[in-house]
């Protein structure tokens, strides 16, 4: 590149020297960046904090129904998650808000009487093993909150299935929240009450649908109010922070499958509305299955993923050993997401025409 350009050696070899500067640019430097130079309004922390915000009404509902115990359990889960993210995550990753989502969601899957140290441990496990081990935000395969709950269910099967009944006073704790680690928790003061699904499965009795919808039932903190969860989910879906196809697909599949079973034998199988409103299905369908990181990226994949979750939920609830199956249904489908993504790639613009053109 040293030869002089231009007409057959006629040009002199000259080098560029900056011209007279005029009135601008005496010492000015400009940004040089790759296109596009504009950026849309969406940002990952904004999405995450919006999800956190939309979870707060659910936390509020849980507190309304379960008293201060709900706040204690959720706070312990959040603390475990946040501390782990801060200690072992990339610097600053705590502030993207995703660890807090995991903590709140985990707390919402636990019963109110859970000792706080267990919730803390669950939060730490969820972030440490569910997320950071895979490489942090965006790299995990399984929903961290559900992984944390799966861990707690394996480690503390009794504590996680002890459902407190409504005590006389709202202020009363719903269990031994302050139990020391590894100590035998004091037997709950309150009488334990079964969840609607447990009643259905093991006792064969149903619960009123209105109670289920409003949330005045036993169960985990976030298993109660379908109405609040749906409202919060609708807000996120309108903002575009949640893909409505996944909950729609899950709920539709569960409804259809349950309705079909109910039509076969109404005595043995619960009705579709009961299936939809009971247990953790609402929270799972709206907030856990829609976790962007662990759900498919294609719209067709999202329908497929939701259908898979729905079918598994009903199978586990009806024929499995557990009364509730949302957690395992979502975790199982999480494992299939890479394959779902692969088989539901969008049709590239212009490729159908190409196929038609080549005989």
């Amino acid at each position: 590149m040293s030869a002089a350009p231009g007409a057959a050696g006629a040009a002199r070899a000259a080098t560029y020297t900056p011209g007279p500067r005029g009135t601008i640019g005496a010492v000015r430097r400009f940004l040089v960046s790759a296109s596009p130079h504009l950026k849309g309004p969406a940002s990952t922390p904004r999405i995450m904090w919006n999800v956190v915000g939309s979870l707060l009404p659910i936390v509020g509902a849980a507190t309304y129904f379960f008293g201060p115990s709900a706040l204690l359990v959720i706070a312990a889960g959040c603390l475990g998650a946040a501390l782990t993210e801060r200690l072992f995550g990339k610097s600053g990753s705590l502030w993207d808000g995703s660890a807090l989502i995991t903590g709140i969601l985990l707390g919402l899957t636990l019963p109110a009487g859970m000792p706080m140290w267990m919730a803390f441990l669950g939060g730490a496990f969820a972030i440490g093993f569910g997320k950071l081990l895979f490489g942090g935000l965006g790299y995990n395969i399984f929903n961290p909150a559900l992984l944390g709950r799966a861990f707690l269910q394996a480690a503390f099967p009794v504590a996680i299935t002890t459902w407190p009944a409504q005590p006389a006073s709202w202020w009363a704790l719903r269990g031994d929240n302050f139990a020391l680690p590894l100590m035998q928790a004091r037997a709950a003061d309150a009488i334990t009450a079964a969840t609607p699904l447990g009643l259905m499965k093991f006792g064969g009795t149903g619960t009123g649908l209105l109670d289920l919808f409003v949330g005045a039932t036993g169960g985990s903190l976030g298993e109660t109010s379908a109405a609040v969860i749906l409202l919060c989910g609708a807000y996120l879906a309108l903002r575009g922070y949640l893909n409505w196809r996944i909950p729609a697909s899950i709920l539709a599949t569960v409804a259809l499958f349950a309705a079909a079973l109910h039509a076969v034998d109404a005595a043995r199988y619960a009705s579709a509305p009961f299936m939809l409103l009971s247990g953790g299905l609402m929270l799972g369908a709206v907030f856990m299955a829609t976790d962007m990181v662990t759900a498919p990226v294609t719209n067709r994949g999202r329908w497929l993923f939701g259908a898979g979750v729905g079918v598994l939920v009903v199978i586990i609830r009806v024929w499995g050993g557990l009364p509730e199956g949302v957690m395992y249904a979502i975790l199982l489908m999480n494992a299939l997401v890479p394959s779902i993504n692969r088989v539901t790639q969008p049709r590239v613009f212009g490729t159908r025409a190409a196929k038609e053109a080549t005989p």
Binding site: G6, P36, H37, A42, Q345
Partner: protein, 456 residues
Amino acid sequence: MRLSFGFAHGVHPPDAKELTNRLPIRRMPFPDEVVLPLRQHAGKAAKAVVRPGDRVERGDTLATADGFISSPVHASAAGRVVGIDWWPHPDGSMQPAVRVAVDRYAPQVPRPRLVPDWHGLTPQQVVRAVQDAGVVGLGGAAFPTHVKLVPPKDARIETIIINGAECEPYLTSDHRVMVEYPERVHFGVRIMMHALGAPRAVIGVEKNKPDAIAALRAAVPPDLDVTVLPLTVKYPQGAEKMLIKAVTGLEVPSGTLPASAGVVVQNAGSAACLAEVFETGLPLVERIVTITGHGLKRPANLIVPVGTKLRDAIEFCGGLTDDAEEILFGGPMMGLPQANLDVPITKGTSGVVVLTKAECRAAVSYPCIHCGYCLDACPMFLNPSMLGDLAGKGRYDEMAEMHLADCMLCGSCAYVCPSNIPLSQLFQLSKAALRRGALINQGPTVPAPATPAGAA
């Protein structure tokens, strides 16, 4: 009759066209010096035919086309050739350029009719005249216009589509041309229809320019089959394949040129330029540029002599504000950033946009959270999320299988990405890596020039 003429997916960036879309086109005075790079177009660089010290009039040939896919360069002002030097080029490299010191007291009157009269020319003569006039696409890619005026051997061109979408934010030069010179656009269409033997033409204009649509409709010549079609307002509506989809409903098959669908797309500004060249007899020596942005004191639509330095153009527009951060040639979605104020405005510069600090992208990016926004934005229905993942790992061959070649770098994916991942940049680098790999595998053959996919 379809109700909406558009394409699927795409994005809606804030267009900021209100800065200039009501401002009439004005003429900028001649600067003290113009710098005319020998390569201002897609294809081979022109060959200089002047020597330092030569005296040139406005419109004189400084460099001739080197082959068919090449375009000559003409003096944009009368003066004396100072040198043929390496000079900063808008693409970021140093390129040979003819520098002309403008004669302050020259009348700047061109020699009479350097381009022949249009009447009675055969299509071949039109193509020749267009090449000699140095006309290139003014939408950004600067593909030589005459190449697209030669009818393809194996297909008949049924429709000429004039791209008046101007979907890039900020830019209004085509808009103003369509409002102020609709007859000129139609005359350019007439020349193209004559050269290509095409029976009909469609001018696609986004609906946010109702004045342009009205002006064009009022000026349609009675003897031509020209339709003015309002298009949905969406980026990248002006991308060639998106425009063809919007106008004809056809998808141009992957990996082929629009001619295979019987369509040729030309930019509205290019059509007007073609007409102007034949009207005035003066080659392409000036162009209409939108110089705008929130970082500029007095945005304007200007007729600028080709080769005017960025510095002179900005000074004419009142200078930069204190928070000006980035200067772009072209629009903010696909434009090239400029680091040097001495770069010349070339034939392909459709706009100069000065962005403020608040508008520029942040430097921080997050990991991909698989939100899928980019899949819903990509007008080509690619999977930018997965492609970006593969690009990060250097798995370029797998990217090629996933139709990376269909990516036109419109930037829609990176615009919507909440994690601020520089997806277009990754794809540009991957394409370059694949080209390099192809070169190594195939030996020293030069690959065919990329298809012009100018999203004007």
